[in-house]
Assembly symmetry: C2
């Protein structure tokens, strides 16, 4: 039976999961697909820590050049994460004639064009299913199963940490900080959760989804982004009163003005599919012109689900399917046509606003009037004195409104003497 | 640009959708995948009916040999459904050197081994994504994305007609017969819905899923099967009282005794993902040892979603991906290893029982004792006189019990003088 030899860079959490599959299931996979996928070398700078996995002697090295220089290795898996040295290692792997598989969304989102150009130059491929939504095969769907569709929109809950935090606030009434601590305690959040809770991670994944679904080549840093770190326990409580739940939703939506992109905590109807996504689950709703709405849910992170996605790419690369997909789609190439990105100032949608205001006559009138002057129409208004007495929390749900108009109204109101503290602005979808 | 020529047999509902995509999106698809997929010939015995689509002159023929004999056509799509002449046409297409794409689950479930053997003999391929769950790319997941997993279970709501009927009974309190009529009126059920409502269609799809996920080669007719035609409005009402909804679930579950297969109306918890699947939607929950639970939901039938799946297969065949998948998985071949099927008499699970009994002392004791003698333990018991007065409906939820024991108990009770009419037995999952 044919055999394909594989090298792995990075024996962290995901790396161990991948090694478990490739070492433990070698026979099972060979029987299933008629080809043997053999993990022959693992590189990690730490070669001594016990990771609870037994490796054949001589397999683990701290010298990455051993992988690049081994002519028998045809696939290199990069699982160290972050930009460097991951970027350099992938470039060197491609230059050494290896096909690459990676789970590194930050790297794909930041350096996709460079890496894919290098792969084409070297006649090699890059598989990256695990970079978005872990075990949920949503990139495969966009790259193969949905090709007959014009994709109309994508809504993704693609950061498990944030979803866990929001679920925790919802089910236990927890404060944001306590929910983050609980996520850290359970291993759902890193020691420094900044890139998760400020929405960067979800937005990088959104940029990748937007490229696959719409051909858009967008710098993720230019995508409007709000993280779960602005969500307060009171927002979760108010959302509930409004028959809604808050989810961090990364959205790409085709409009007459181009592709609208945004990541934001979003009030979704409590009986919607997105609202049912709890704990650290990920979910993606894709709407295509022929397939209609297609909904996926599964584990988006963690050792075993992410390893499942990495190894499916390894098998696909070994069998030659990645080659076909890579050549036909020409991802991140100048040839790949994409839709234009809608200017962020042109975004519009329903909004949830929360102000802490003085409890006196005239305040509501002034706020309504600041909104009304900018054509922002109010759908619902509520107030509550919990926690902020003698002030009150004032919640406003708007009808569809322009983001620019909302920003201008909030700018004006920020200097109003009757408003205290920060104003919260979240998205609302029906 | 390379071009691949396609012939289509069957211009019914799905055929029109496929023609819409291949004729209307030819440029869009070519730009996306770098290859042109050209529909050049359509065969239907009816060449005169206006189907609301404009075809290039000369494209429509009633002579199927025109497709087989056209050396330029490399892919033939079969969309006539049913066993014959679909089977003969596919065999002839393969013998004529064409790759085949089909949406025909009855044919794949009944003749998979024959068709795939012929394809291998002719060096050609068969794509059949659309045969299960229409637009939901669940076969692609099992054939590619989940290959690193040992699949542990599949639960599928894979018949839109049945799900619509159950949803209608649930939301409107409709009688079964009225729900079926409403489904027919809206085009969700055929004039003769027998194969849908008796569970045959779902069970054929289950046999296909079981082969892909577990390698099982099983005659679908041997799989225990109960259809929605046994469900009464009163069952839907009782399910609600029990915090459950009824869904037609096709299940494949790996047990120590082999693969347990069954199709049955099933009481699922009302907050479960399956319970949220309403209207004619399809859904599949796959559990893999690494990916964990993966949930899909989308339209499982209809012109546009099914055409989306058919055309993704056509594109995959044109690009050569189907070739790789086909060769590596060796589906329905003697070489493909599969798990053994659990003997149907060994199945076990929780059950919902409904009896119509005389309202007098001693009846409950006799029923409990008939169950108890066979080690069937009762979790819950309720009665209700609605509609069956002077008799009462007696509902029993059992704990996990052997199907054989249940069948024996019901056989005994059927002849009891205090039981009137048919006894209903549905599955229960937690």
């Amino acid at each position: 039976m044919d055999s394909v030899k594989v090298g792995l860079i990075g024996l962290g959490t995901i790396g161990v999961g991948v090694a478990e599959i490739l070492l433990g299931k070698s026979d099972e996979i060979a029987r299933k697909v008629g080809k043997r996928v053999e993990l022959v070398k693992i590189c990690d700078k730490d070669t001594t820590t016990d990771r609870g996995i037994t490796l054949p002697s001589g397999m683990l090295t701290s010298d990455v050049t051993e992988l690049f220089n081994d002519p028998e290795i045809s696939i290199v898996i990069e699982l160290i994460g972050g930009l460097e040295p991951a970027r350099t290692f992938i470039l060197r792997a491609l230059e050494s004639g290896k096909n690459v598989v990676t789970a590194n969304k930050a790297l794909i989102a930041n350096c996709g064009a460079e890496l894919f150009a290098k792969a084409r130059e070297c006649g090699r491929t890059i598989g990256f299913e695990a970079s978005v939504c872990g075990g949920v095969p949503v990139l495969a769907a966009l790259q193969t199963s949905l090709l007959a569709n014009k994709i109309e929109s994508i809504q993704a809950i693609c950061n498990g940490t944030c979803n866990f935090v929001l679920s925790e606030m919802e089910s236990k009434g927890a404060a944001y900080e306590d929910a983050v601590k609980e996520a850290q305690r359970l291993g759902f959040a890193e020691a420094d959760p900044t890139l998760d809770v400020n929405g960067s991670d979800a937005t990088q994944k959104l940029a990748i989804l937007a490229h696959l679904a719409f051909g858009a080549q967008v710098d993720w840093k230019t995508i409007p982004r709000v993280g779960v770190d602005v969500v307060n326990a009171i927002d979760v409580r108010f959302a509930k009163v409004l028959g809604r739940k808050i989810r961090l939703v990364a959205t790409a939506r085709l409009t007459d003005d181009g592709l609208a992109l945004k990541t934001s905590p979003t009030l979704v109807p409590e009986d919607s599919a997105l609202a049912k996504v709890t704990s650290a689950f990920n979910a993606v709703q894709i709407v295509g012109d022929f397939v209609g709405p297609l909904f996926y849910q599964g584990w988006g992170a963690g050792r075993r689900p992410t390893a499942s996605a990495v190894c499916s790419d390894v098998i696909d690369a070994a069998l030659g399917r990645v080659r076909i997909t890579f050549d036909s789609l020409r991802l991140w190439s100048p040839e790949r046509e994409g839709v234009a990105i809608q200017d962020a100032s042109k975004l519009s949608g329903r909004a949830y606003l929360r102000f802490v205001v003085e409890d006196r006559p005239g305040v509501m009138a002034e706020i309504s009037s600041a909104l009304g002057r900018r054509n922002i129409s109010i759908a619902q208004m509520m107030q509550d004195s919990h926690d902020v007495s003698p002030n009150v929390s004032l919640i406003i749900l708007t009808h569809e409104a322009s983001s620019a108009a909302l920003a201008a109204a909030l700018d004006e109101l920020r200097s109003a003497p009757f408003i205290h503290g920060e104003t919260t602005l979240l998205d609302v979808v029906d």
